[in-house]
Amino acid sequence: MTTTSLAQPTPSSRFDVWYWLRRLARNYILRRILMALAKIFVVVTLTFFIVRLMPTNPIEAYINELIDQYGFTYQEARDQAAALYGIDLEASLWEQYLEYMKNLVQGDLGTSYRSKGTPVAKMIGKFLPWTLFSVGVSLLISFTFGMLLGMIMAYRRGSVLDHALTTVASIFSSIPNYLVGMMILVFLGVQWKIFPITKMRGAMSPGVKPEFSWTFIKDIFYHATMPILTYVLTTIGGWMLAMKSNTINTLGEDYVTVAKARGLNEGRIITAYVGRNASLPLFTQLAISIGFIVGGSALIEFIFVYQGVGQLLLNSINYRDYPVMQGVFLVITIAVILANFLAEFVYGWLDPRIRVQ
C-alpha cells in the first residue's frame, strides 16, 4: 500500500515570505543596520529615563527654582519647563516619551537652560565638528602609522628597533591619556618651552575666518596639534602591538610560504598577501577604539581648552544645563554607534568570508 502526500505548492507559484525573510536575516549588512538602529533606540530610551528617574529630577529642580527664585506660579513654572525640555508635562510618561521621540526625529533636542533660547541642536552643531576633526585625524594617523610600524616590527623581530618600539608602545598605552596630555603641557609647554601653549589653546585663533583657505586650514591644525599628539601617542601603541602579532601569525601561514616559493616580488607579498590578511582583525578593534576615543575626548578637550563636544558636555554638567547634557550625551552615543556601524561595514566589505555566512 502506498501513501501519497498532498502536493506542495512549488516555490515559484507563491511568494514565500519566510524564504526571503530568512535570506534577509542572513545578510550581514542588514543585520548590522538593524542592530545599529536597535542600539540607538535603546540609548534614546535610556537617556529619556535617566533624566526623569534620577533622584535629582532636573525638571522638578528647575520648576522649584523658578518658583523660589523668580516667583513663578506652579503652572507657569511647569509651562516654562515643558517649553525648555520640549515635552508636555501634563501628559503621561508614555505620551511624554512619544513626544520626545517625535521631537528627536525632527531634530529638536530642546533649548538650553543656561543660554536661554539657544536650541541645543545648534550648540551641538557648533562644537561637534571640532571633536570629529581632532578625533578623526588622530585615528587616521594612529591607525595607519600603527599598522606600518607594527609590520616593520614584525619583519625586524628581535632587533633593537623592535624592543625599543615595544617598550615605548607599552608605556604610552598604559598611561591614561589625560595624564599624557598634562605631561605634554607641563614638559613641552612650560618647562622646555617647545610649544607656545597659550597661543595654541582653543580650536581657532581669533580673527581667522572659517572658510576653505590655506590660512584657516593651517590654523586649525596648529590648534589641534596638542590634542592630536595626545590621542596619537596613547593609541598608536595598541595598533602597533596588535599589528605586530597579527603579522607574525600571518607570516607563518602556508600561502605566504607558497608565494615566496613562487618567487613573487617581496613588495607584493608584503602588501597583497601579508598586509591585507594581517590588518583585517584590526578593523574590528577600530570600532571599539572609536568609542573609547570619543568618550575620552571630554578630558583631553578640557585640558587643552579645545572647543569640542566633550567640553560642551562638561560645561553643561557643571552648570546643570540639563537639556544640553541630555542632547550632547545622546549625540555622542549615536555618533559612536554610527562609527561602529561604519567600521563593521568596512570590515564586511573587506572580508568576503563574512558576507557568505
Partner: protein, 288 residues
Amino acid sequence: MSSFWQSLRRTFRLLTYNKIGFIGLLGVVFFILLSFVGPYVVPLDTQTKVDKIYQPPSSEFWLGTDSEGRDIFSQIVHGGKDVLVVAFLAGFISTTIAVLLGSLSALAGGWVDNAIMALADIVLTIPQFPLLAVLAGLVKFNNVTLLAFILGVLSWPALTRAIRAQVLSLREREFVEAARALDLGTKHIILREILPNMMSYIAINLIFAMTGAIYAQVGLVFLGLVPFSGSNWGVMLSLAWTRGAIFYKGSLWYIMSPVAAIALFQLSLVSFTRLLEEIFNPRLRTSV
C-alpha cells in the same frame, strides 16, 4: 624545614621568571604598602607654611611642597588609599559579574546567550566616560563604595565576552568530556575543571578592570565631578590644575607627583599581568 626553604626558592624563581613582570609586581607591592601602611608611618602635613611655597625636593620635603607649603610626599602617601580601594572594588565587582554572566552565557546557550550578548553589546557601545560624567552630574558620588559599584557595573561587558569565549572553548576539551563521562557532576566540572583553567584569564582581566577603574575615577575627580575631599591623587591633580600649577615653572613637583604616581601604578599593574600570564600557564614556562 629544608622543604620550606626549597618551596620558597621555587616560588621566588617562579616570580622572577619574567623580569618585567617581576618589576611590575614589586611596583604594585610598593604602592600597596605606600598607600595602606604609609599613612601610619608618615603623618599628613596639613600645616600651611607660606614661606615654603613650591619648594623643590630637599631632605626635609622629599618631593617638595605644594601651593600652601605642605609636604607633597605625605600627600602622595595618604592619597593612594582611595584610588586603590575603588580600583580593587570596581575590578572585583566587574570581574565577578563578568565570570557569572560569561559562564552562564556559554554554558546555557540559546536565547540566554543571545540576550546576554546583546545586553553586553549595548552597554559596550555607550561611551563609558560621558555616561559617568552625566551620572555624576545627577547623582552625588560622595562615597567610595558607590563609585566603585557604578564603575564595576559599567565595565563588565568587555570581560564577559572574553570569559564566554574561553568557557566555550574549554567546554569542548577532552578533560571536560572525560569528567562528564565519569559522571562527576556539574559542580565538579565547573569548579575543578573549567575554573582553574580560566584563572589566568580572570586574574588578567581583573587587573585590566582595575586600570580602567583608575582611569575613570581619577578623570571624574580631576574634573571636579565627584566631591571627594582629602588628598587622594585625583584631588591633588584637580587642585594643582585649579591653582594654575601647570603654568608655573616652580610647581613642577606638585603637578607631576600625582601624575607620576598614577602612571607608575598603572604601568606596574600592566607589567604584572605579564608575570601572571606565565605563572598561570605552565605551558609557557620551560623550567620550574
